[in-house]
Symmetry: C2
Subunit: 422 residues, 2 copies
C-alpha cells in the first residue's frame, strides 16, 4: 500500500477527553476513529490488525472442530426472560429499543440464549452431541463508563465459542482443549509470557470461572500471580480458603494490574434446564445438555497488544498481527532512488509480504516518525546513499540501530528467498 494513496494520515488531533493510551496512540496513527466515547471505527490499517488477530483465533477454533456462524444483534425479549437475563436489574448493560408495533427488542451483549434456542432445533439424541460453534460478533454493551479505549468499548468485537456436551466429563475435556488453544493464541500474538490462567468468581453452577489475564498497568483488574506455577487468582475471589484450595501460598504471589482478554464459563446444565434443551441418551432417557462458553475480546486484545508493546515513539506490533511487515521509507525523488524503492515495493509485494510504502513528498524525519508511530516491524530506507552503496538500510522497530545490509541479509531477516529481491 502506497501511503500517498491512503486517506488516513497520522495526526496529533486526539479528542481531549480520550484518556486511554491505546486509543490515543491508535487515533494518532490513523488506525481507529472515535465516533463517541467507547465507540470506535476501524480504519484500513486498524482493520488489518483486527483481521490478523481474527485469523489467528479462527485457526485455533477450527482446529477444535468448532463451526463458524454468525448470530444476530437483535434479540427477543421472551427468550431472555426464560433465563431471567432480560431485566435491567439483572443485566445492566442492555441496549433496548422497540419494533414499530411496540414489541421490545434488545441488542446482543452475549449470545448463550439465542445459541441454545437455535441449537435446540438440531439436537435430539446423543448422536447429535457434542457440538461446538463460534462467531466473531459485534457486541453492544451499555457500559456506564467507557474510559479504556478499545479495551472496554460500548461496541466491540468478541469471539464467542459455545460448546454443548453430553455430560460434565465431556464438557471438561473440551474445556481443557480450549484452554490450550487460548494459550497458543496468546503466544502467537506475543503475549504468552504475560498471560495467566486466572481463577475468578464462578456462577450458580461452579465455584470458579477461568479468565485469561494479561499483566499490564492499562488493565482494570487486580490479580495475584504465581509465576512459577503460571496461574493467578482474581482479587474478587482472593482469600485464605481459596488459596488453600488451589495450593497457593501468599509469599509466592505477586499483586499486579491486569486486563482480562479471555474467559471461560461452565454453565453446567442450568441453561439447558431453563430453555428446555435435552437429548435422548443411549437408553433413550432425556438428559439436559451441558453448556460451556468461551469468550475472547478481539478488539480488547488489539488494545492490550497496543498498550503492552508501545514505547515513547508509538506503537510496536508483533509480526503476527502487524498491518504490514515492512515499511519502506523512500528518501528523496532522484530517479534512481524512486526506481529502486518502487522495485523493492513490487518485489516484496510479489513475495506476499505486506508493505507500507512511504512514497510521500515529506521530510525524512517525518517518515521516520511515522514509521515508528505506526509500529511496523521492519523499516527499510532507500536513499541516494543506499543507492550509491548498493545496500539497504534496515532497522527493526524494537531496536535503535539501523544497519546497512545486502539483499541476502535483508531477505533472511524477512524470512523470504534472496531470489525474490533480485
Amino acid at each position: 500500500m502506497r501511503l500517498s494513496e491512503q486517506f488516513a494520515k497520522t495526526t496529533k488531533n486526539v479528542p481531549a477527553d480520550e484518556v486511554s493510551r491505546n486509543a490515543q496512540l491508535l487515533i494518532q496513527a490513523g488506525f481507529i476513529y472515535r465516533g463517541m466515547a467507547g465507540v470506535y471505527a476501524y480504519l484500513p490499517l486498524g482493520l488489518r490488525v483486527l483481521e490478523n488477530i481474527k485469523n489467528i483465533v479462527r485457526t485455533e477454533m477450527n482446529g477444535l472442530g468448532a463451526e463458524e456462524l454468525i448470530m444476530t444483534s437483535l434479540q427477543r425479549q421472551e427468550l431472555w426472560q426464560e433465563t431471567d437475563r432480560w431485566d435491567d436489574e439483572k443485566v445492566d448493560v442492555w441496549f433496548k429499543s422497540q419494533l414499530k408495533n411496540g414489541t421490545p427488542v434488545g441488542f446482543g451483549w452475549s449470545h448463550e440464549e439465542p445459541i441454545m434456542a437455535m441449537l435446540k432445533s438440531y439436537i435430539a439424541s446423543y448422536r447429535d452431541l457434542p457440538v461446538a460453534v463460534y462467531q466473531f460478533q459485534t457486541k453492544l454493551r451499555n457500559e456506564l463508563r467507557a474510559k479504556s479505549g478499545i479495551m472496554r468499548g460500548r461496541e466491540f468485537i468478541m469471539k464467542d465459542l459455545y460448546a454443548l456436551s453430553k455430560d460434565e466429563k465431556e464438557l471438561q475435556a473440551f474445556y481443557d482443549q480450549v484452554s490450550d488453544a487460548y494459550i497458543r493464541i496468546f503466544e502467537k500474538v506475543g503475549l504468552g509470557d504475560a498471560t495467566f490462567l486466572t481463577y475468578a468468581s464462578g456462577g450458580a453452577f461452579t465455584q470458579f470461572s477461568h479468565e485469561f489475564q494479561v499483566i499490564t498497568d492499562a488493565g482494570e483488574d487486580i490479580i495475584y500471580v504465581d509465576r512459577s506455577k503460571k496461574i493467578a487468582v482474581n482479587k474478587e475471589v482472593y482469600n485464605d480458603e481459596v488459596l488453600k484450595q488451589l495450593d497457593l501460598s501468599t509469599d509466592q504471589l505477586e499483586e499486579v494490574k491486569s486486563a482480562e482478554v479471555g474467559n471461560i464459563f461452565n454453565f453446567g446444565s442450568s441453561k439447558s434446564k431453563q430453555l428446555g434443551v435435552y437429548y435422548a441418551d443411549h437408553n433413550g432417557v432425556e438428559q439436559p445438555v451441558y453448556l460451556s462458553s468461551y469468550g475472547l475480546g478481539v478488539t480488547r486484545l488489539m488494545g492490550v497488544i497496543a498498550e503492552f508493546f508501545a514505547d515513547d515513539k508509538g506503537l510496536v506490533w508483533p509480526e503476527n498481527v502487524a498491518p504490514a511487515l515492512v515499511y519502506i521509507a523512500r528518501l528523496g525523488n532522484q530517479p534512481e532512488v524512486v526506481k529502486q524503492a518502487d522495485e523493492l515495493y513490487i518485489r516484496l509485494t510479489d513475495a506476499a509480504i505486506q508493505v507500507l510504502y512511504d512514497d510521500r513528498d515529506i521530510r525524512p524525519g517525518e517518515k521516520f516518525a511515522d514509521a515508528d508511530l505506526l509500529g511496523i516491524p521492519h523499516r527499510i530506507v532507500i536513499s541516494e546513499k543506499t543507492v550509491q552503496r548498493g545496500t539497504f538500510e534496515w532497522k527493526k522497530r524494537d531496536t535503535t540501530e539501523a544497519q546497512q545490509v545486502n539483499a541476502e541479509q535483508l531477505a533472511k531477516s524477512l524470512g523470504i528467498d534472496t531470489q525474490a529481491l533480485l
Copy 2:
C-alpha cells in the same frame, strides 16, 4: 466438511409465518436460522455463501482503489441532526436507545454522516482527494413489515461505498467506474442477464438515482425494462416526460417485478455543505466536497440468488457463490466404498476444492434429496456399483441425468488436473 460432523441438518420445520420462498428454502437447507421476523442468523453453510459473495464484491471494490474499513453501529444524535436525518418523521427506520446518562443513540441504518464526519479530519486540500472507502456493515432498520426473508431484513449486511470527489466531473467518472464494477459483480454471481441499470427517483440534488434491479417475481419493485438497451425505469418515475428524456418508447418496454440489489446516490455537495466538509483548491479557495454513495445488499443478493435459481427440489447455487463445489454421496458402508469415498474427499480437498462429504448412515434417497436441497453444483456418488465399474457417478445440480465418468472426465468437469484424482 463431513456432514456427519455438522450440526445444522436439513429440516422440514419452517416457522408457519415464514412466507418468503428464499427464507423457507434456506431454513430447510440449514443455511439460516430465524431469530425473529426479518432477523436471521447465518449458519456455517449460509456464512460460506455470504463470504463468497463478499469476496467477489471486495475484489471489485479494491480494484476501484477503494479502502476497506468498518464504521460503527452506534450513532450520535447531534451528527444526524446536522443533516436533518435524525427525526423519526424524516427517517422512519431508526432503532434508537439511550446511554446510561440518558444521551440518545441510534443504530446505523446508513453511514453517509459518520463517514463524512470521519473523513473531514483527513481532508484539507485538493491533494487529499479523491477518496473512496467501503465497508461490509451490519445495518439495522426498523422495517414496519419484514416478509421477504433475507431480501428485506431488520438486520442485514450491506456493502456501502462512499466516494468523495473534488467536483461533479470527478464524481461522475468514478460513478461510471462503480457502475461497471457492479455489472461485473452481478455477472460473477450469475445474474448478469437478469440485472438492469434502472432509473429511479433522485434526491434534492439530482433528478435520478440509479438502481440495479434483478428481474424476479420475488421482488418488491415494478420496473419497465428495455431489453435491447439493457436499461429500465422504476415505476416511481415512469411517465411520458421521463421516457422522452431517456429516449425510451413504451412499445419497447416490458413491465416486470424486480428486486433492487444495488443503488447509487449522487449527493453532490449537499452533505458537505451541511457537515462543513471543504477542501482548498489549487488556488487556495475553499470548495465543498462532492459525495456519492453506492450500496449493495449482500444478504439481499444472497436471497435473490436463492430465489432466482431455485427449483422444486431446492436451492441451486452458481459455482462462484456455492458453499461447496462438490457433494460426495457415499452409498453404503462396504469397506471398499468407504475407502474410495474417503480418498476422493481427501484428494478434492487437497486440490483446494470445497466438498460436502455425505458420510452419514442414512438412505440413498435422503442423500440425493439433501444434495438437491442444498444446491451444491456437482454431485458425485460412490457406491458398490461405481466401485465395481471403476467409475464415478457424476451429476450437475441443474441437469437431471447422472453420468458414469472416469477420473479424467471428472477432473475436467471440476476444472482440476487429472493427477489430483489419481
